[in-house]
Amino acid sequence: MSTESIALTGVREPSRAFGDWLTSWITTVDHKRLGILYIVFALLFLVLGGIEATIIRIQLIAPLNTFVSPRTFNRMFTMHGTTMIFFAAMPILFGFANYFVPLMIGARDMAFPRLNALSFWLTAFGGFLLYFSFVGANGLYGAGGAPDVGWFAYAPLTSKAFSLGHSTDFWTLSLMVSGFGSIGTAVNIVATIVSMRCPGMTFGKMPLFAWLNLVVFGMVLVVVSPLTAAQLMLCVDRFLGGHFFDTQAGGSAVLWMHFFWFFGHPEVYILVIPAFAFMSEIVPVFSRKPIFGYPIMVGATVAIGFVSMTVWAHHMFTVGMSAYGNSFFVITTMIVGIPTGIKIFNWLGTMWGGKIIFKTPMLFCIAFLFQFLVAGLTGIMLGAAPFDWQLAGSYFLVAHFHYVIVGAILFALFGAFYYWFPKMSGRMYNETLGKVHFWLFVLGFHLTFDFMHIPGLLGMPRRIYTYEPGRGWEVWNLIVTIGAVVQGIAILIFVSNLLYSMFKGKLAGNDPWDAWTLEWSVASPPPEYNFLTIPEVRSRRPLWDIKHPEDPDWKYE
């Protein structure tokens, strides 16, 4: 080898190293890297959805405000809802499942690694397609731009007559594409959990995280597909001149509502059960006790999975169903509260008598317990048809479901971030900054979403562009917007904490929390192959058995 060629290699190396690095991420089929890609992608869309929320809140800060035009406002709430549900919440939870399910069940990768990569890129492509509508949807035919039909896109708003141009087409196609991605991930994770568990890990010894994700992805299979089917029908209507939701040809607008909410309500559980999964891992470790009532927890989750598929029309009480229809959906809605309540008592039972460690992940979990309870109670209120007739479509409803999604799901997600950050990055986060983030976010959350109930009770409808002064809504809207700013600051602290700690945090080691599930037995971050030798387990807490050979769990289970 001549000196010249060596010198050339030296010059080229940095750019090639970056290219290799990029290629390795784009072509990866490693479940951990795909998990991180999911999470990074979701955080990007979380920021976009957050910007849209900020625009909505600035517009509503004062009466008769004209910060944006009415049309832009419609686009903002449509894109905010669609982005947050499909491209922030779902991918972030799929990312955690991708990263930790194989590690927790002692597998080296998912059942179908290449399908895993395909699913991620489908989801990512769906997200980019949705946002491409901002520039790409300006058709020659008239109104274009981002979708403005609301995130549940009721017919006939989506018909050709009322939605010119291609904005609705971008909406429906992006959800269809990402829906295929979700189904692929669901196939993969269910097959992984059923067929890839390490020796000894029977269903009764599987970590609750894996159990709950099994239920979640089983639900994804049977409820995301109907959304895809409904989107196919909408495409038939819009592209081929079909009449599924065309009331002028005998079609039914209510049928779309049924199809959408048959997906839409179980979707809430697809989002919240992973939050339950985080809770069920974090609360025991920081209470220094095994989970209270493991079999009941599994049973309650499966029950939620089934019952949640029978409650969808409680989103439709104001449509005018029969008294029997209303009664049925009121009763099922009340029933789903029972297994959910059981879970809250299980976490309380886990904390009861434990040596609770108030680190940041645990703080978020405790806040989850309070806030999820309140969100459940307003859910029970709205689940009663007569009450719903008054407040459906008001800011009370908006406050209720943000209480679930932010107060419960996002809080549990923050807990999960802090809990598993050491495993994923190999370094500890800054505990002080974490606590500052927690308290600021609690403050901002309650300012926004506690006070959002009140204008709803006073009659303020959702999706309203602006309002007149003198209705008594001004002060509440002002407080809500201030709370949103506080939450934004808290999230900036969170992001800077993670970014700083990723490079400068102190090394975490394998098991910084003295935890019990298999992911803590490997290095941080885990090697590409996860486990040098496939572990064998004999109890639900394999690491406890190793740390306490004199008193292992399997003697009692």
Binding site: V194, G218, V537
Partner: protein, 198 residues
């Protein structure tokens, strides 16, 4: 590396789990079933709701021959997998080809039925609600038949090239599961469209 330590006393019972391909295919079938369920629900919901003609009874002919072909292809693919499991490669190739041919006949019959409806009866997807639901549901099924035929053809070509052997029986069996599903869906579609809907 502390992983080696996660090995308590070795297990008493041998450890075996279901084949991941089979589980994955069952999951896919669950998802596909929900898609078909939604289309079937829409079909049933819209029976008799068309504001203008033609109505199903006036133009639909019951595709008995095509149905017999498709349903018997389930038997031949089952027998083909059985032959492969026993290692009888010639028999496997023959039965697999018959399956492929039966599926192709079904698709051809569907195509000629559509041609008759579109060109002779002037009946399209945008004619009325019946047209929308009929072409969507039957078309959704036909698109699954096409995917199945592509798969059948791929396996057949690989088999001719000698690349499908006895040890691949699990993979072939997984694919057969998909074909059985396509046939089972046809039973539902046939019942809804040609018996209930007429």
């Amino acid at each position: 590396m502390s992983t080696a330590a996660v090995r308590p006393a070795s297990l008493e019972t041998p450890w075996s789990l279901p084949y991941k391909g089979q589980i994955g295919m069952l999951c896919l079938i669950a998802a596909e079933s929900s898609i078909f369920t939604i289309f079937v629900v829409a079909y049933i919901f819209y029976i008799g709701k068309s504001l203008t003609g033609p109505m199903p009874r006036e133009i639909l002919e019951v595709p008995i021959f095509a149905t017999i072909c498709l349903l018997s292809s389930s038997l031949t693919i089952h027998a083909a997998v059985g032959a492969l499991r026993k290692g009888n490669l010639a028999m496997f190739r023959l039965l697999w080809f018959i399956t492929l041919a039966l599926g192709a006949i079904f698709l051809f019959k569907t195509g000629s039925e559509w041609q008759r409806l579109i060109y002779e009866k002037n009946f399209t997807i945008s004619t009325n609600l019946f047209g929308t639901t009929y072409y969507s549901l039957v078309g959704l099924h036909a698109s699954h038949v096409i995917v199945g035929l592509v798969g059948l053809l791929t396996v057949f070509l690989l088999a001719l090239a000698g690349r499908v052997r006895q040890e691949h029986v699990d993979n072939v069996d997984t694919f057969a599961l998909y074909w059985h599903f396509v046939d089972a869906v046809w039973v539902v579609v046939f019942t809804v469209v040609y018996i209930v809907g007429r």
